[in-house]
């Protein structure tokens, strides 16, 4: 009879083992990483270039928290006082990331945690985040309907009355462009206001999303817009009748960055994700499909792609230097003006 019965200790041991099993399995499997990101193509490319080839083989489970940037910023702020947040990695544009970093939300990356950050382009380095991909602000136009523009000022040509479309989400970029042609600077957007009101009088239309603007460009409702070169590359690849022109005022770079929040539940995996995203293979994958330029020096692009999405050394030298502090300090006020005066 002995050995056939289940003793009290054995029963308790088995119960404890069962309770601990999920944690043990997760620990053995490398745990998980929660990435707060945009959806659509961007998420697909994260999976194809980072999650599947570089993270999952380490036994790490990848979860996405998909949303546009504003709700992600709100969640980061709402969770700032909690011990465990949602994200292990938060994806934001450089402007949004700076705004959030002011609240001291992120762990500083170091080469010990992310050895690949040694390869990051010097100009793109930040103490609170790592750059994932970048592009620049250009003019997209329909070559069948208009001459190639050379300056943002060309969009104010009365010949384009009612044919200029603007994406609502890029309001800061439109304000900056108008400021640059009306005596303003990256640190003074005030001159943009009267200039944009002129554009409004010329029938410029505001579209609620980049997708709605793309449909208008495709149908011929809109002939010109201000947009990221990478978007233009994607739209052109999709068969839309557009070309791009780098304005003589200079292209403004846009960097999409990632950071590990201080309250990330799986911080170590957050850093593993950062290391993976800076791998040359992952960087080139994004360039080929989305048209964003690698942020590392060791990921050369095939020449035909580089020609389409990169900026020449002269254009890079003429890049507009973004004043993040000015934008962070004035964003609410400028958005207020944009909503009430320009769109109203």
């Amino acid at each position: 009879m002995t050995g056939q019965t289940i003793g009290r200790r054995a029963l308790l041991g088995a119960a404890a083992g069962l309770l601990a099993a999920p944690a043990t399995v997760r620990a053995q499997s490398g745990g998980r990483v929660v990435v707060g990101t945009w959806g659509g193509d961007y998420q697909d490319l994260l999976t194809a270039n980072i999650a599947d080839p570089l993270i999952r083989p380490q036994g790490i489970e990848v979860l996405y928290d998909v949303a546009v940037a504003p709700p992600r910023k709100t969640k980061l702020l709402a969770e700032r006082m909690t011990r465990r947040g949602t994200f292990d990695v938060a994806c934001l544009s450089d402007i949004d990331m700076f705004e959030m970093a002011q609240q001291n939300l992120f762990e500083p990356p170091t080469p010990e945690l992310v050895p690949n950050m040694n390869n990051v382009i010097e100009a793109l380095r930040k103490p609170y985040a790592l750059p994932h991909i970048y592009s620049g602000k250009v003019i997209l136009y329909n070559p069948d309907r208009m001459e190639k523009p050379t300056s943002y000022a060309d969009l104010w040509d009365p010949k384009l009355r009612g044919r200029v479309g603007l994406s609502d989400g890029l309001y800061i970029q439109h304000i900056e462009a108008a400021a640059l042609i009306n005596g303003g600077s990256p640190s003074n957007f005030e001159p943009a206001k009267p200039k944009l009101m002129e554009l409004k009088a010329l029938g410029a239309r505001v579209y609620p999303s980049n997708e709605a603007l793309a449909a208008a460009l495709n149908s011929g409702e809109v002939w010109a817009t201000i947009m990221w070169l990478a978007r233009g590359y994607m739209w052109k690849k999709a068969g839309m009748p557009i070309r791009h022109a780098v304005p003589k005022e200079g292209a403004t770079p846009i960097v999409f960055e990632k950071a590990v929040p201080r309250n990330a539940p799986n911080k170590a995996n957050g850093w593993r994700w950062m290391q993976a995203m800076l791998e040359p293979s992952a960087q080139v994958g994004f360039a080929e499909r989305m048209g964003y330029v690698p942020t590392v020096t060791n990921a050369p692009l095939p020449e035909e792609i580089a020609k389409e999405i990169s900026f020449t050394p002269e254009e890079q030298a003429n890049f507009v230097r973004v004043d993040y502090q000015y934008i962070a300090d004035n964003n609410a006020r400028l958005l207020d003006w944009w909503t009430r005066e320009f769109k109203g």
Binding site: K73, T74, V206, P208, S219, N331
Partner: protein, 298 residues
Amino acid sequence: MAVRQARRRAGAFSLGPFLLVPASLLVVAFLVAPLAVLFRYSFNRYSPREFMIDAFTLENYARFFTDSYFIGVLTTTVRVAAVCTVVSLVFAYPLAYLLARTESRWKSALVIAVVFPLMVGNVVRAAGWMAVLGNEGIVNHALLSLGLVTQPMRLMYTPFAVHVGIIAVVLPYMILTLQSVIEGIGRDVEEAAANLGAGPMTTFRRVLLPLSLPGVIAGCTLVFILCMNAYATPVLLGGPQFKMMAPALYDQFTRTTNWPFGAALAFILMTSTLVLTILGTVVLSRRMHYRKLEAAPR
């Protein structure tokens, strides 16, 4: 005597009030407490660098009531809600009457058809309207094909699109509320009115409408509240230029990260919805009361 004692004993140990505890705790934890926190935030001060500064100031409320833009947003919201409520009442009543009175074997199918849109989210429904009202949508395609217009009419991103979208969302609520009340009104009442020489319109005006007024009040209240708080439809069909209160306060929270002002907007929206709903209910209830007095035998 024994029964009374047993009742008293049962009363002494009644579990009734305790059964309310779990639900009350849930409401306090997930509704009252967050609202209290939000209310406190509405008195704080916004700073771009420090995000939110602890304070006790009325400046967020003062900003709203002294700013013509936000007063305009509230006015637009109330106007849209009122128009959509009235239009949905007018559209819903005949359908609700038909559903209540029909003895057809298709009645269940008709009720399911009314309920069916509720199974689809507001965003999906708005996407459907985009396909209908867009420049290359069904309406413009038909107008162009018939030669009624030479170029597409702008239907999307207009107040018209918002009204259509919201009415489509709230119509099932109005129909179902009215149907349940009309079903409770005996058909013999209408027959009695007809026997006394009342035509269909008189029967509706003097008999059916007064008797169904509780349903009208309930339906209008429900629909008005839904319209006042509409978010997805104004954003997707109204476009960037069209502003109602819910999208405006969402913008304050997410795009400008001005939580104190966003919280103030939330409480102004909540209060104005509550006040207008109570006002409407009181007015309609009084009307119902007078109707009863008029109809009472003298």
